[in-house]
C-alpha cells in the first residue's frame, strides 16, 4: 500500500506529462485573415454572369438558325451560298453582334474569374486558354463534339473559337467558299462562310460554360484572399494583353497572324478587366485604409490612371490613329510599369494585413 500510491502517482504523472503539450516551444499562431464586406464583388459577378448567359443564349439561338439553313442545304456550302446568300449574311451578322455583346460582358468579370482560384478554370475555358496545338500543357481543357461526329480536340478557349469561326480567321473553321459579301469582286476580311458544325458546337459550349460559371458564381463565397489574389494575379498581365494588341490586326494589320482579338480591340478588353478589378479593390480598400491610407490612395490612383492610360490609347485608336510598332512597344512597357507598381503595392499591403495571396 505504501509503495502502490506513489507508483500510481508516478505512472499517472508520466502519462500526463506525455499527454501534455509538446516539450518544444509552441509555434506562432497565424493571425486570422481580416474580413471585409465583399458582397459587392459577388453582386457584380452575378450581374455580369446573368448578362453573359443571356447573350450566349441568344448567340446560341442565332447559330442554331445558321446551322438549320446549312443543314437544309445538305451542308453543300457552295450551293448554300449561291441560293441563300441573302438569308445567311444577316444571320452571321446578328451572331457577330451577339458575340461583340457577350465578349465585354465576360471581360468585365474576367479579373475576378481569372484571379479567383476556385473559378479560374472557367477563364481558361472561356477566354484565356490556348489550343492544344499552341500550348499542350496549358490548353483549355475542353473538346468540341461537332454534330457531324467530328471531334475538335482542345481547340482553345471558346470565345476564341467562336470569334475565329464567325470572322473566318482560321481556315479550318470556315467553309471552302469564296463568299464575296458585297460582290465587289474581292473577298475581304470578314467576308466568310463559317463551318456550321463548328459554329454550332462552339456556341453551344460557350453557352453551357457560361451557365456553369453562373452557377459557380452563385455558390461562391468571396474571401479577402480571393480578392487580393485576383488583384495581384490579374493586374500584372498587362504586358501580355498589350502583346496581344500589338500582334493583332489593330497594329499589325494584314500581317497579323492572330486569329482572335479581331472583332474587339484588346484595349477595350483591358479596360473592362480593369473596371472589374476596380470594383474588387473598392471592396477591400477599407482594410487597406486601416493600415496605410496613403498607400491605399496611391493604389486606387494607380488603377485609375492605368485604366485611363489604356482608355486614352484606345480612344486615339478608335479615332483613327494607327500606332507604330515602337509606339506600341513603349505603350506596352509603360502599361507594364504601371501595373507592376500597383501590383507591388497591393502585395505590400496584403503582407501587412496578413492576407494570403494564393499561388
Amino acid at each position: 500500500m505504501r509503495v502502490r500510491t506513489p507508483l500510481i502517482a508516478i505512472i499517472l504523472l508520466t502519462l500526463l506529462a506525455a499527454c501534455s503539450a509538446p516539450a518544444a516551444p509552441q509555434p506562432t499562431a497565424t493571425p486570422p485573415t481580416p474580413a471585409a464586406d465583399l458582397s459587392g464583388i459577388k453582386d457584380f459577378l452575378l450581374d455580369q454572369a446573368a448578362s453573359l448567359t443571356a447573350s450566349t443564349g441568344a448567340l446560341k439561338a442565332e447559330t442554331d438558325r445558321y446551322y438549320a439553313l446549312a443543314e437544309a442545304a445538305g451542308f453543300d456550302y457552295p450551293r448554300l451560298w449561291q441560293e441563300q446568300r441573302s438569308e445567311l449574311i444577316p444571320v452571321i451578322e446578328a451572331a457577330r453582334e451577339l458575340w461583340v455583346q457577350a465578349s465585354p460582358q465576360y471581360e468585365k468579370m474576367e479579373g475576378i474569374v481569372a484571379g479567383t482560384p476556385s473559378l479560374a478554370e472557367f477563364d481558361v475555358i472561356l477566354d484565356a486558354g490556348p489550343s492544344g496545338e499552341e500550348d499542350p500543357e496549358n490548353a483549355a481543357p475542353v473538346d468540341l463534339n461537332l454534330p457531324d461526329g467530328r471531334v475538335l480536340e482542345r481547340p482553345g478557349n471558346l470565345f476564341g473559337v467562336v470569334e475565329s469561326t464567325l470572322w473566318g480567321t482560321f481556315p479550318a473553321y470556315s467553309a471552302d467558299v469564296a463568299a464575296d459579301w458585297n460582290q465587289d469582286g474581292a473577298v475581304e476580311f470578314g467576308e466568310t462562310l463559317p463551318d456550321a458544325a463548328v459554329l454550332k458546337a462552339g456556341a453551344d459550349a460557350l453557352d453551357s460554360y457560361a451557365s456553369q460559371l453562373q452557377t459557380a458564381a452563385q455558390e461562391w463565397s468571396p474571401s479577402t484572399s480571393d480578392a487580393f489574389t485576383a488583384l495581384v494575379v490579374m493586374v500584372p498581365t498587362m504586358s501580355e494583353y498589350f502583346a496581344s494588341w500589338r500582334d493583332s490586326r489593330f497594329i499589325a494589320g494584314e500581317d497579323s497572324t492572330q486569329r482572335d482579338f479581331v472583332a474587339i480591340s484588346r484595349l477595350a478588353d483591358i479596360q473592362d478587366i480593369l473596371g472589374g478589378l476596380q470594383i474588387v479593390y473598392g471592396q477591400v480598400r477599407p482594410l487597406i485604409d486601416g493600415v496605410d491610407a496613403a498607400q491605399a490612395a496611391q493604389i486606387e490612383s494607380g488603377l485609375s490612371s492605368l485604366k485611363a492610360f489604356v482608355a486614352d490609347v484606345h480612344q486615339q485608336e478608335q479615332g483613327g490613329r494607327r500606332y507604330t510598332a515602337e509606339e506600341a512597344d513603349l505603350l506596352g512597357a509603360e502599361a507594364q510599369n504601371r501595373a507592376t507598381a500597383v501590383t507591388g503595392q497591393i502585395a505590400q499591403v496584403a503582407a501587412q494585413l496578413g492576407v494570403v495571396i494564393e499561388e
Binding site: A18, A24, S118, T343, Q352, E359
Partner: protein
C-alpha cells in the same frame, strides 16, 4: 457676471460673422489642403511625375508644345513635392534629377525623342536613388513615418512562376514605425529588398536595350540603357564594398559608355558585353545564411528530381511522355536558378569548380531542351550520370552549413511537385498526377515531417488528410485524383493544403541546433515507443511463476523487431525518398497484425480458467505444451513482441533518418538514447508497479493496460487505413477533439475510428465478463464435489501441497486461496 454678459453682448453680430467667415475659410483651406497633401505624398508625386514625362514622350510626335508643357509641369511638381527632402538627404541624386528635368525640357523643345527618353530614365532612377537614401536616413534617425511614406517611391520585381513581388521591406518598415522592429533589422531588410529589386531591373533593362536595338527602336534603347546606368548607381556602394573602388569606377565608365552609345544610335553589342562582364558574379544584396541554405536545398532537391522525371518520359530512346520531359526541364531550370543565386559566393571561394558547375548546368539544360523540342533524346542513364556528377561537384564546393537539409527548401520543392500534379491534371494525365502527388508526399515524409511531429504536431494530421483521403468538406488529393476530379476541385484542395504547409513551414522554421535535433529524436522515440513498451511490460509483469517462460518468446520478438528496424534504417539511408511513399501502408499492415495478435492475447488472458487449468496440469502437460499447443502460444508471443515494436519502427526510422541528415548521426543517437531511457523507465515503473500488486489486482491492472493500449492501437490503425484509403472517412462533425487525443490516444473524431474502438472495448470487457462467468460456473461445479465430501471432513480445504521447488507452487497456492 454682469461684465461677462456685457462682454458677450459686445461680441456683436459683426464679430460673429467674422468668426463664421474665418471658419468657412478654414474649412475650405482644409478641403484644398487634403488633396494637396495626398498629391504631396512622395509616392504619388513621384508616380505622377514619371507619368507626365511618359505622356510627354508619347505626345511629342503629334504635339511638341503639349510635350513641353508636360515636362514643365513635372519640373514644378518635383520642386514642390520632392526636391526639398531629396536635396537634404541625397543631394547628388537630387542634382541628377534636376539635371535630367532640364535635359528633358531641352529635348521636348527640340522634339528630340531619344534625348527625352534618356532624360526621363535619368530623372526616374535619380528619384529612386534619392528615395532609398531618404528611407535609410529616416530609419537611422528613428523617423518611421517618413521611412514608410518614402518607401512608396520604389519599383518591384515582376512576378514570375517562382516569385511574387516582395513585401519584405514594407512589412519590416511598418514594424519599425510601430516600434516592434529595431533599426538595424529594418535597414537590412530595406537594403536586401531594394537592392535585389534594382539589380533585377538592371538586368531587365540591359535585355531591353539589346532587344530594342535589334528592333531599331532608338528611343527605347536609349531609355533602357539610361535606366540600366541609373539602377547601377544604386548598386555602386555594394560593388565598392565587395570588389573595391577601382572595379566600381571601371563599371561606372562602362555604363556611361553604354548610355552614350545608345543615345548616339551606335551598336550596343560591345558596350553591353563590357557591362555584363563588369557585373559577372556580382550580387548587390547577398543572401542571408538562411536564404543560402534554402537555395542550396532547393538546388539539390530539384536536381535530384531531374533524372527521375526524365527517366519516366523516355522509352527506347524516344520521348514517350512529353509532360515528364517538360517537368524535367522545369526542375532543371529551378535548380539552375537557385545555382545562379549562389554562384557569386561559390565563385569567390572556388572559381574553377563554380565555373565547372555552371558549364554542367548549361549542358544538362541543353540536352533536356533538345529532347523537349523534338531533337536528340539523351539516354536517361546519361542524364542521371550528369545530374549525379553535378551534385557531387556542388556538394564538394558548397560549405557544410549549406548542405544541411532545410525545411523551407523542402516545402519549396513540395510546392513544385504539387504544381506538376496540377499540370498533369490539366493535361488529363491522372496517373502522372498521382505520381507527382506521391513525390510531393515522399519529400514531406523524408524531410520536414520529423520536425512537425515533434514541434508542430497539430499540422500533421490535417496535412496528411489533405494529401490522401480527407473527405467531406475537403476531400484529399489522392481521393480526387483517383476519382478523376476536375482541375478546380483539385485546385481547391491544393489551396487548402498550401495554407497548411505554409503554417507548418512557419511553425518549424528556424535553425536546427544539436539540442533541438536531439530533443526531436527523444520525443519521437518516446512517443512511438510508449505504446509498445507499456503493453510488453504489463504482460511480462503478469508472467510470473510458470508463465515466466513466455517472457522469452516476447523478448525474442522484440529483438527481431529491433533487428528489422536496424535493417530498415540502413535500407532507408539508401533509398530514403522511395521508402517514404510506402510508410503509411506498411504501418497499416503491421498494425493490423499487431491488433490481431493482441486481441487473441487479450482473450486468452482473461480466460483465467484456461490459465488455471493450464497451471493445474502444468507438470503433467509441460512437454505437451512446449510440443504442440505451446508452439502456437510461443509463436503468438513472438509475433506480439515483434509487431508491437516494428509497427512504429518503420516511420520512426524515416523520421530519424531525416534528423540525421539535418544534424549528425551522434546527435540523433543521443536523442534516441534519451528517448529509449525514458520509455524504458515507464516500462520499468509499469513492471515494478504490477509486480508488487496482489496477483488478482495485478491481473486486473494488466488487463486494463492491455485494453487501453488495444484501444489506442485500434484507433491509430483505423486512422492509418483511412489515410491510405483502405477505409472510408466519415467525420463526426459535432465532436471536436484536440490534436493530441489522436497523437497520444489514437482518438480521432470519425465514425469508423470511434466505432472500431468501441467494438474493441466491448470485446475486451466481453472477454473479461465471459471469463468471470465461466470461472463462476466452474467454482459452483468445483464446490459440489467439495460439499459432498464436506460432511465427512468439516474442515476448510487446504491447498494441495506441492514440491516447494516447483516454479508454480506459490502462485498456484495463492490462486487457490483467492478462489
Amino acid at each position: 457676471m454682469l461684465n461677462l454678459v456685457g462682454a458677450m453682448r459686445r461680441f456683436s453680430a459683426a464679430n460673429a460673422w467674422t468668426v463664421l467667415s474665418l471658419m468657412v475659410i478654414g474649412c475650405l483651406a482644409l478641403g484644398w489642403a487634403a488633396p494637396a497633401q495626398a498629391q504631396d505624398a512622395p509616392g504619388q508625386a513621384a508616380e505622377t511625375l514619371r507619368s507626365l514625362l511618359v505622356q510627354a514622350q508619347l505626345a511629342m510626335s503629334d504635339d511638341p508644345a503639349a510635350a513641353g508643357e508636360m515636362v514643365q509641369t513635372a519640373a514644378v511638381l518635383y520642386q514642390d513635392a520632392l526636391a526639398p527632402t531629396l536635396s537634404a538627404a541625397a543631394p547628388q541624386a537630387a542634382q541628377r534629377a534636376a539635371a535630367g528635368l532640364a535635359e528633358a525640357a531641352e529635348a521636348a523643345a527640340a522634339s528630340d525623342p531619344i534625348h527625352l527618353a534618356a532624360a526621363r530614365a535619368q530623372v526616374w532612377t535619380a528619384l529612386l536613388d534619392g528615395a532609398m537614401s531618404v528611407v535609410q536616413e529616416a530609419i537611422a534617425t528613428g523617423r518611421g513615418d517618413q521611412a514608410q511614406s518614402w518607401l512608396l517611391v520604389r519599383e518591384f520585381r515582376q512576378a514570375t512562376r517562382f516569385s511574387r513581388p516582395s513585401a519584405d521591406a514594407a512589412v519590416v518598415v511598418a514594424g519599425f514605425a510601430g516600434g516592434q522592429i529595431e533599426a538595424g533589422a529594418a535597414m537590412q531588410a530595406v537594403q536586401a529588398d531594394l537592392l535585389d529589386t534594382y539589380q533585377t531591373r538592371l538586368n531587365q533593362a540591359l535585355d531591353t536595350a539589346a532587344v530594342a536595338q535589334g528592333q531599331g527602336f532608338g528611343a527605347r534603347s536609349a531609355e533602357a540603357a539610361t535606366l540600366a546606368e541609373g539602377y547601377f548607381a544604386l548598386l555602386i556602394p555594394a560593388l565598392v564594398e565587395q570588389r573595391g573602388p577601382e572595379q566600381a569606377e571601371a563599371a561606372t565608365r562602362s555604363f556611361a559608355e553604354l548610355r552614350a552609345a545608345a543615345v548616339a544610335g551606335q551598336p550596343l553589342d560591345a558596350p553591353l558585353a563590357q557591362v555584363r562582364a563588369a557585373l559577372q558574379g556580382f550580387r548587390a544584396a547577398p543572401l542571408s545564411p538562411t536564404e543560402q541554405t534554402r537555395r542550396a536545398g532547393q538546388m539539390l532537391r530539384f536536381l535530384s528530381l531531374v533524372p527521375v522525371e526524365y527517366g519516366r518520359g523516355v522509352r527506347n530512346g524516344q520521348v514517350a511522355i512529353d509532360l515528364e520531359i517538360r517537368e524535367a526541364i522545369t526542375f532543371a531550370d529551378g535548380a539552375a536558378a537557385a545555382f545562379a543565386d549562389l554562384e557569386p559566393q561559390l565563385a569567390s571561394a572556388q572559381p574553377a569548380q563554380a565555373a565547372d558547375a555552371a558549364a554542367r548546368f548549361a549542358a544538362l539544360q541543353r540536352d533536356l531542351a533538345a529532347a523537349g523540342a523534338g531533337g536528340a533524346v539523351a539516354d536517361p542513364a546519361a542524364v542521371r550520370r550528369q545530374a549525379n556528377e553535378l551534385t557531387a561537384i556542388l556538394r564538394e564546393v558548397m560549405p557544410d552549413s549549406w548542405q544541411r537539409p532545410d525545411s523551407n527548401a523542402d516545402f519549396d520543392v513540395i510546392g513544385a511537385a504539387l504544381d506538376q500534379m496540377e499540370r498533369a491534371v490539366a493535361a488529363g494525365e491522372y496517373t502522372l498526377a498521382e505520381s507527382a502527388r506521391l513525390e510531393a508526399y515522399a519529400i514531406l515524409e523524408s524531410g520536414p515531417e520529423a520536425k512537425l511531429v515533434a514541434f508542430a504536431p497539430q499540422h500533421v494530421t490535417p496535412i496528411e488528410e489533405l494529401f490522401w483521403y480527407g473527405q467531406g468538406e475537403q476531400p484529399g488529393l489522392a481521393f480526387l485524383i483517383k476519382h478523376g476530379a476536375s482541375r478546380s476541385e483539385i485546385a481547391a484542395t491544393r489551396q487548402a493544403l498550401d495554407a497548411r504547409l505554409a503554417a507548418a513551414s512557419e511553425a518549424i522554421g528556424g535553425d536546427s541546433a544539436p539540442a533541438v535535433v536531439a530533443t526531436n529524436a527523444a520525443i519521437i522515440v518516446f512517443r512511438e515507443g510508449l505504446e509498445a513498451v507499456v503493453i510488453l511490460a504489463a504482460l511480462m509483469a503478469s508472467m510470473v511463476g510458470a508463465k515466466r517462460i513466455y517472457r522469452r518468446p516476447m523478448a525474442a520478438g522484440v529483438l527481431l523487431a529491433l533487428l528489422a528496424t536496424a535493417v530498415t534504417f540502413w535500407l532507408a539511408q539508401q533509398v530514403l525518398t522511395s521508402f517514404s511513399r510506402y510508410g503509411e501502408k506498411l504501418e497499416a499492415v503491421v498494425s493490423l497484425v499487431a491488433i490481431g495478435v493482441l486481441l487473441l492475447i487479450t482473450n486468452w488472458f482473461f480466460h483465467q480458467v484456461y490459465w488455471k487449468d493450464h497451471l493445474a496440469n502444468f507438470h503433467a502437460q509441460k512437454k505437451a505444451l512446449l510440443g504442440s499447443v505451446g508452439a502456437g502460444q510461443l509463436l503468438g508471443f513472438v509475433l506480439l513482441g515483434f509487431s508491437s515494436v516494428y509497427r512504429e519502427g518503420f516511420e520512426t526510422v524515416l523520421f530519424l533518418q531525416a534528423l540525421v541528415l539535418e544534424s549528425s548521426l551522434w546527435t540523433v543517437v543521443e536523442g534516441v538514447a534519451i528517448g529509449i531511457l525514458a520509455v524504458l523507465a515507464v516500462g520499468v515503473i509499469t513492471f515494478k508497479f504490477q509486480s508488487r500488486l496482489p496477483y488478482k489486482k495485478m491481473l486486473v491492472w494488466t488487463g486494463v493496460l492491455i485494453g487501453a493500449v488495444l484501444l489506442m492501437m485500434v484507433g491509430n490503425t483505423v486512422h492509418a487505413m483511412q489515410v491510405v484509403g483502405w477505409l472510408p472517412t466519415h467525420p463526426i462533425r459535432w465532436l471536436t477533439l484536440p490534436y493530441w487525443t489522436g497523437m497520444w490516444f489514437g482518438l480521432y473524431p470519425t465514425w469508423e475510428g470511434i466505432t472500431a474502438q468501441l467494438a474493441a472495448l466491448v470485446f475486451v470487457l466481453g472477454s473479461y465478463f465471459l471469463a468471470e462467468r465461466q470461472r463462476g460456473g466452474r467454482r459452483k461445479k468445483d464446490a459440489r464435489p467439495s460439499r459432498e465430501k464436506a460432511p465427512a471432513a468439516q474442515a476448510p480445504p487446504t491447498p494441495h501441497a506441492l514440491p516447494a521447488e516447483s516454479p508454480a507452487t506459490a502462485e498456484l497456492a495463492v490462486q487457490r486461496a483467492l478462489d
